[in-house]
């Protein structure tokens, strides 16, 4: 083997160590880049040419992205549930704040004051101030119920508008993935593994998995197909958009459909799933509860009130409340204008008779709700406790999922993340390799000098 071969081998070694140091430099630069996977240099020995016993040095075979696809898959699964639970927990916490229980300022207290004002009226039915107090308490009850109804509706509105943002983000991510698919397939065709582009795409997939229950599949040409609800969201280089269509039957809130053909999209989990659940289930069922309670109170109070006689001793059959549920409840305009119309008396022409006011007050302790098994107070207590249970469950699920996700993240980092100390060791190693290769070149040079000038 000639000396020039040795020079060549040493030069290849110099280049290989240099490229390896480039990789170290790339890794160190991206130590804090989200979603970055460290890259490992692939070096291999050059096999000896036929007939020669000694190998031809080192060959630089490119860089490899270090990544555990199974951990990625696990993590995306868990992120769907985490996103859904956290979104629900956030809105349910706001809903329970709207009820401000337990306290002396919530609907419970207002309800007690309302029925107690009827008891006061029964004690002094002739007294104008007791009558005004009933109207006042009735109005306070109506306003409080309306405000609660409004509070829950506002939360539904905000879930709907956040849904619009999230769907826009999902469409955007799908297009990004399609574009990256195109870049990755063409760069791979040219022999480059395209590690950094894959990192970007993985980051987009991570976020997409947080948004909705997508599944994905990597093809042999390097592109990734994403499936949502049984249909392709991304297929090769094409992304299929989701459109939001206002549904008149659901408060004009948006339904999710495929922009292509208008078919319905069902999103069961992820942030979008969580927003849909809170908008159409969590908050809606509490609104239904609230309206059931208020509607029952309106019906019962009006029926009892209509049976009695007003201060003039002859007027009967009037309603106390107007409206049908929590959205439009108010004290009847005629009664509000003239509290003398309050039917405190059971008997006609009996100014001192407050027994009908007592009959109205007695509704508070009657089992009129849930097929005659619950009072207003216990039904309301159940309503508040159901919100509390839902908020607590969503929060503990969100906490548990966050913990799982953070463990998986750590696992992923332990495979794919950059450790600066490790890179420093590699750096020293490659630096020494470079120095050694340079030393060989000097040795060969000296040998050539000996050969040419001293012989």
């Amino acid at each position: 083997m000639g000396l020039s071969v040795a020079l060549n081998t040493a030069m290849r070694a110099l280049l290989a160590q240099q490229q390896a140091m480039d990789a170290v430099s790339h890794n160190v630069s991206n130590v804090n880049t989200p979603g970055y996977s460290r890259q490992r240099v692939l070096l291999s020995p050059v096999a000896a040419p036929a007939g020669s016993g000694v190998g031809g040095g080192v060959s630089f075979d490119g860089v490899q992205r270090v990544r555990d696809m199974f951990v990625d898959f696990q993590m995306r699964q868990q992120k769907q549930t985490a996103g859904e639970a956290q979104t629900r927990a956030d809105s349910l916490h706001l809903a329970e704040l709207a009820f401000s229980e337990p306290s002396d300022s919530g609907l419970r207290s207002v309800m007690s004051q309302f029925f107690n004002s009827w008891r006061d009226l029964s004690n002094t039915p002739e007294d104008g101030s007791a009558r005004s107090a009933v109207v006042q308490a009735g109005q306070t009850f109506a306003i409080t119920a309306q405000r609660l109804q409004q509070g829950l509706t506002d939360l539904r509105d905000s879930a709907d508008s956040r849904l619009q943002d999230s769907v826009a983000e999902m469409n955007n991510l799908a297009s990004q993935i399609a574009v990256l698919n195109q870049k990755i397939t063409s760069i791979r065709a040219s022999g480059d593994p395209g590690g950094d582009l894959s990192d970007q795409r993985d980051l987009a997939l991570d976020r997409l998995s947080e948004l909705a229950n997508v599944t994905y599949n990597e093809q042999t040409n390097g592109s990734v197909d994403v499936v949502l609800n049984g249909r392709s969201l991304v297929h090769g280089v094409s992304a299929y958009a989701i459109a939001l269509v206002p549904n008149a039957a659901n408060n004009n809130y948006s339904d999710l459909t495929w922009a292509g053909d208008g078919a319905t999209v069902t999103v069961a989990s992820g942030e979008i799933g969580g927003l849909l659940t809170q908008r159409d289930t969590d908050l809606t069922s509490r609104l239904v509860d609230l309206n059931t309670l208020v509607a029952q109170i309106i019906t019962d109070v009006n029926a009892a009130h209509a049976a009695g006689y007003a201060l003039d001793g002859t007027t009967t059959g009037t309603d106390f409340f107007s409206g049908t549920d929590a959205a439009d409840i108010d004290v009847d305009a005629a009664v509000a204008a003239n509290p003398g119309l309050l039917a405190a008396a059971t008997n006609a022409s009996a100014v001192g008779d407050g027994s009908n006011a007592l009959a109205v007050a007695a509704l508070q302790t009657a089992n009129t709700l849930s097929s005659g098994s619950e009072t207003y107070d216990s039904f309301y207590g159940g309503l508040v406790s159901r919100i509390g249970v839902a908020a607590k469950d969503a929060q503990s699920l969100a906490d548990a999922q966050a913990l799982t996700v953070s463990h998986l993240e750590e696992l992923r980092q332990s495979v794919a993340g950059v450790n600066v100390d490790e890179e420093m060791v590699n750096l020293v190693q490659y630096q020494r390799g470079y120095e050694a290769a340079a030393r060989i070149i000097r040795a060969v040079d000296e040998m050539l000098d000996t050969l040419i000038n001293r012989t």
Partner: protein, 295 residues
């Protein structure tokens, strides 16, 4: 497991955040003194507390009503005492007039006093308390007794009704605070008028009947006072019972809602220590690097 710079800082950050959020929960409870600051802190406890608060409000209302009813019964009682005095005086006059030592002129003088007693009795029957005529049944805005000739009535007409004025002192528990004015007063008026007229006309049969009649009326009044006393005792019993229930409810609300302060303060200190430890660990871990040793 392989540790990386990102995973280390993420883990350290999450330990700090966990420690901070646990500390903040305890701080909330210590500052508010409450275990339940929102329903999700204890959903079942919240619904029990809502029920207990509703009962307490209801009981407070019953107790207010009991106070009112007690004063109403008290005013009825004092009217009956005065009426008893009037009847008692009439009976004394009846005994005095039913004597041969008194002549017609003397009896006419006594008749004048009886007429005064009658006016007094009518005034008592028309007593109003807190703007309500208490012997008029449910016609509380109408004076119940009207004289045909003011000052010298031959008949007194009852204008009230037999309606009872009920006060709710417990769930489904009502006490009437009025008595039937017609039943108590009308016989007294009739007997006083008859006595007065007998004295004026020197009708000795009428005069001697008066003493017995007044005795009967006195019995009626005493019976009515007994009835008032019985009702007042019922109010007292209900009041005591409601007070006991309130105490129980308050104890149970406190055990549901209030934080166990000594426990919370201990937790607060433990959690502060945990946060400090997390911060110290972070401070030390982040500064250690191989770079310090490669010179």
């Amino acid at each position: 497991m392989r540790v990386t710079n990102q995973s280390m800082s993420t883990r350290l950050l999450s330990s700090i955040q966990t420690a901070q959020s646990r500390l903040s929960d305890t701080q909330d409870r210590v500052a508010s003194g409450r275990r339940i600051n929102r329903p999700s802190d204890d959903p079942f406890g919240t619904s029990r507390s809502i029920a207990a608060h509703a009962s307490i409000d209801l009981i407070a209302q019953y107790q207010r009503t009991i106070t009112l009813a007690r004063s109403e019964l008290g005013s009825t009682e004092s009217v009956l005492t005065s009426l008893g005095d009037v009847i008692q005086r009439a009976r004394e006059l009846a005994v005095q007039a039913d004597s041969s030592s008194i002549d017609g002129a003397g009896r006419r003088q006594i008749a004048a006093e009886v007429n005064q007693l009658l006016s007094e009795a009518i005034k008592l029957g028309n007593t109003s308390y807190a703007g309500r005529h208490i012997f008029a049944g449910q016609q509380t805005q109408t004076a119940p007794f009207v004289e045909d000739v003011p000052g010298q009535p031959a008949t007194v007409t009852y204008q009230g009704d037999v309606g009872q004025v009920q006060r709710e002192i417990g769930e489904g528990d009502q006490v009437a605070v009025n008595l039937d004015g017609d039943e108590i007063f009308t016989p007294v008026f009739q007997d006083l008028i008859a006595f007065r007229d007998a004295l004026n006309t020197n009708d000795m049969n009428g005069v001697s009947a008066a003493s017995g009649n007044m005795g009967t009326n006195l019995d009626t009044v005493l019976q009515a006072r007994g009835e008032i006393g019985a009702r007042t005792r019922r109010l007292d019993l209900a009041d005591t019972r409601l007070g006991d229930v309130t105490l129980q409810l308050q104890t149970s609300i406190s055990s549901i809602e209030d934080a166990d302060m000594s426990q919370e303060v201990v937790d607060l200190q433990t959690r502060e220590t945990a946060l400090q430890a997390a911060l110290a660990a972070t401070g030390r871990s982040l500064t250690t690097s191989l770079l310090d040793f490669l010179r």
